[in-house]
Amino acid sequence: MFEQVDTKKIILKTKQYEFADGLRDIQLGIALILMGAVWFGLMYQPSWLMFMIQLGRDYGRWATIVAFLLLFSLPVVATAGMQRIMESVRRRWLWRETGMVKSSRILVPSHINILAVFIFIVALILGLRFQSFLKTGDFYLMSLIMVVVGWSFGVSLIGLGINLKVWRYVIMGVIGGVASTALIFYQSSLTGAGLLSFLGWGLILLTSGLIVLKRVWPEIREEGHAG
């Protein structure tokens, strides 16, 4: 008919580029580990809370509010900082020869996000409905929330993987989702369940990112020398 340009392939390759060096996995992994650290700090060490309350007593309640905001913004600030570092690493080394791309904000299709929310709600309702049949501990509800959050996150990763044909996300989504289920049996400590969830997902993503980076690094170096 006329000269063909495979636009689908070009679109897919451009979207995959963002995930080709593993830095995005590393960034998300570190952010989740930091969230786990904040969670652990708040839940396991109530002395932090006492310190915050004391701040309020000494300097007024605004001091407590500001301290809490600072604490909760830590992972956000860290993620933004990592974004800057990631851009700099890419500009100087990883993408120096191949060029920079600012990826599209919508990478997970909306129907997958809706499915993730749907799974969250349905699993939560079913979990509560069957609570009487299960041997539940004091923290059953929180453990259940951790499990369904894990499933929803897993579904989002699987959706991202299928959409972009980046199969490691499908594998991570399945592994993380299944592993999250184990949290239902860990009802002895809310702190532990939350920490395991954050650390688990964080470590899965961090490991994946490091493996990918290690694999592509020699190719990038070669391209750099050739260029």
Binding site: T7, I10, I11, Y17, E97, G99, M100, S103, R105
Partner: protein, 105 residues
């Protein structure tokens, strides 16, 4: 058949040219991309790529931002709203025509 000829002639000429179509596809998949990435993806020469980018910019399909990263000049391109819509429309038109051809053959 005349309908199909009419449909082909209705294609957006600015996008239909293969090199510009490739540029549009890259930018459609991202928020923005720099000159080097477009050069690598399309396989065009610097001069050719510049010429195509200028044409697309003149058609209000993309914006070109020239700046510096450190001491080096850095050119970034991004699709405009019109460009995004034009690319979507083009794809729809193209797919529907390709389907018609397939059904007949």
């Amino acid at each position: 058949m005349p309908d199909k000829i009419k449909a082909i002639s209705n294609f957006d000429r600015l996008i239909h040219e293969p090199s510009r179509l490739a540029i549009m596809a890259v930018l459609f998949a991202s928020e923005s991309a720099d000159f080097k990435f477009l050069l690598n993806t399309t396989g065009l020469s610097k001069g050719n790529l510049s010429a195509h980018l200028r044409k697309l910019e003149a058609g209000d399909y993309l914006t070109i931002t020239k700046g510096f990263k450190g001491n080096y000049p850095h050119t970034t391109c991004a699709l405009t709203k019109e460009g995004r819509k034009a690319f979507k429309d083009y794809q729809k038109q193209y797919l529907s025509l390709a389907k018609q051809f397939e059904e007949e053959s």
